[in-house]
């Protein structure tokens, strides 16, 4: 029994790591070994932390079957406001972290509150809030520029420490608290969840607040990484969220084999590897975009058709078993006749 469990765990780990390992292997081969050296991977890992943390935040919203187009704008807004407020108050790095998180939580919480009150699709509310949050900094602080000493958190080993803390928070909340179980229940079937007595609007509000915490930390990392951030215009804030969104999609595919939290991180990291790998191969930007688009398409197709693929496999298994049983019966009948 113990062995079976261990074997399943090993098999699931292998299945979880197939995608990143394949991507890694593919680019190592394509670049003749130039890609995949420790220094390169360290940079990719470091750069993956920000989308990973954002993916963790975003995942709670996507799990509930909603969209949050305003997540990128929240990151921009929190970074710009947070960075400027720390400069005004002279509170340095602790102030920057605190202000970024507070502002992101307030912004996300406000989006959740509006969503609950308006009862319109999340896509509409978050798109509106995206435009609003993009423009808000331009009215007060159009841009932010931080000094080199405040960029510490995006450098190793600090970025990994930040990631470990956020990962632990998410893992515990998702796997060991009623919040996580309720989230999964609502995500699986909203009607049943409501009938069992779950307060769905309250959960949605909590999810937006929870997302805000992660977007706030992501904003700190984004600001540390870039040093200077100009306020975004015309939905430009959605671009940097691409890797985070992909992370969640990959996690949806992988969640049968691993914890959802791990899946999000594997997804975001894989996407970063794809981007860096295409650079290492030497493809031009349009070719890289085409490849990334195809990669996204394949993943989404697989994710959307997972049920059909499983059904097809199950049907084939049942058919094979039926054929085998029929063959056995025929053989037995032939033997008894003989």
């Amino acid at each position: 029994m113990k062995n079976k469990k261990l074997n399943t765990a090993i098999l699931n780990t292998v299945k979880t790591l197939i995608l990143p390992v394949c991507v890694y292997g593919l680019f190592v081969v394509l670049t003749g070994g130039r890609f995949g050296k420790w220094n390169t991977m360290k940079v990719i890992l470091g750069q993956s932390v920000q989308p990973m943390v954002a993916a963790l935040g975003l995942s709670v919203i996507l799990t509930l079957g909603m969209w949050d187009f305003s997540a990128g704008a929240v990151i921009y807004g929190a970074a710009i406001f947070g960075g400027n407020l720390q400069a005004i108050t002279g509170t340095g790095l602790p102030g920057m972290v605190l202000f970024c998180i507070l502002i992101a939580v307030v912004m996300s919480g406000f989006t959740g509150w509006l969503f609950n009150r308006l009862k319109v699709p999340s896509m509409v509310v978050t798109m509106g809030m995206c435009l609003f949050y993009e423009c808000l900094p331009r009215v007060i602080f159009p841009q932010v520029r931080i000094s080199g000493s405040l960029t510490t958190l995006c450098h190793t080993p600090w970025c990994f420490i930040v990631f470990a803390i956020m990962f632990a928070i998410y893992y515990i909340a998702y796997s060991y608290t009623p919040f996580g179980h309720n989230l999964e229940a609502i995500g699986s079937n909203k009607v049943i969840a409501r009938n069992t007595g779950l307060n769905i609007p309250k959960m949605k509000q909590l999810c937006f607040l929870f997302e805000g915490l992660f977007l706030g930390v992501s904003a700190v990392l984004y600001l540390s990484q870039n040093g200077t951030i100009y306020s975004a215009t015309t939905l430009a804030s959605m671009g940097p969220m691409f890797n985070a969104m992909m992370g969640v999609w990959v996690a949806n595919v992988l969640k049968r084999y691993c914890n959802f939290t791990v899946g999000c991180c594997v997804g975001a990291f894989t996407m970063k590897m794809v981007t860096s790998g295409l650079i290492a191969v030497g493809f031009s930007t349009p070719v890289r975009d085409i490849f990334t688009g195809f990669f996204l398409l394949i993943l989404l197709s697989y994710s959307a058709n997972q049920g059909r693929i499983e059904k097809f496999r199950a049907d084939r298994r049942i058919a094979a078993e039926a054929n085998a049983a029929y063959a056995r019966e025929m053989a037995e009948a032939a033997n008894s006749n003989g």
């Binding site: 130039r34 509106g128 423009c135 331009r138 159009p142 100009y230 671009g239 940097p240 930007t285």
Partner: protein, 392 residues
Amino acid sequence: MKNTVKKLLAMLLALCMVVGMLAGCTGSTTPTDAPKTDDTKAGTEDTNSGEEEKQFTVAMLGVDFTSGLGLQLKKTLGYTADALGIKLMLVEMGQDQEAGVTATENAITAGANLILTGEPNYGIIEACDKAGVIFGICCNYYDDPNMLKRAMESPYFYGQIAEEDYNTMTDAMQTLYDSGSRKIAWISNPQGVSTTHDIRVKAIEDFVAAHSDMEVVASYRGLSEYTETLQQFMAVHPEIDGLTGSLGGEYFASALEGAGLAGTGKVKFAAFDLTDGSAMKNGDQVWMSTGQPNSFALAMILGYNLWLGKDILGEANAKDQVFQRPYLPIHGYEEYENYMELCEGDVPFYDADQVRALCVKFNPDVSFEDFKALESTYNIPSLVEYRNSKSN
């Protein structure tokens, strides 16, 4: 009650969205923000001297006035408008090209007499021609001959004025080359988004093609994530010893900082636009350029002259061509310090005396030659000399 709250919230959200979208079209006049130097005060006094000047309003359409270049534009144009005694209206329109026509129409409705824009657009030409508002194009040109023809048909067209991108980028590449960079990576906007950026990229490619010992190791054309991409370049290609592109220097400085290469001298970069100079001080940045706001200032003067009846470019038969000006290149930290001292204070590159000398209101004999003559002194050493001579 519940429905009323819902309706109110729905209206609030709709209002938020409208405010959000219209934020890109907010107009604000700079005179209150304009630097209050003696020259500026002189300009303001002139503003009050006549009713006609008070009414002349220049509308500057820009992507935004919050970034480094946008802020420079705001300051330089505010100063120039004050020196000429006219009003300035700043109109933000974001990255959306469609917004240009709407912004123009809004500016005309708000009383603009001159539209300053870098966007070649039929809609803008038609709107200005119909309303009798002066227009032209700055830091860009009409590459569509039919559009140029249509603009030339209008008596309100002041001309085309643009920086010489190809030679400037070549100068940047030469500086990078002279600093020892041979394996380079570059970043730019996507192809087709801006002619300016496309020309700069062409200059990079031509320069590398002409130097067999130089090689482009990686390149990126996108709208965001520049810093991250540069870091990826350096991680994947550790042999890179030079970075450049058609974009601002802050991305390069942050990338080097993030990669732990700032100040090591391993990777040099040459990039457009003014930065805080720290990368130039520690030797990472070998070249930067600025000066686009000065071209807009000259466009403002050309447009105002046309309004006053003096068609400078038309008289020189130069309207169908682009009046090309160099960028203001900064080679090294010493030039940077001089620039900051002389141009980033209250007075921009062209002071009130120089501005007025180009305006028919103050100098009836002004001609295209006066504008052309500015080119030879458009560099930091000449500026230092000019300001020193004035202070003496």
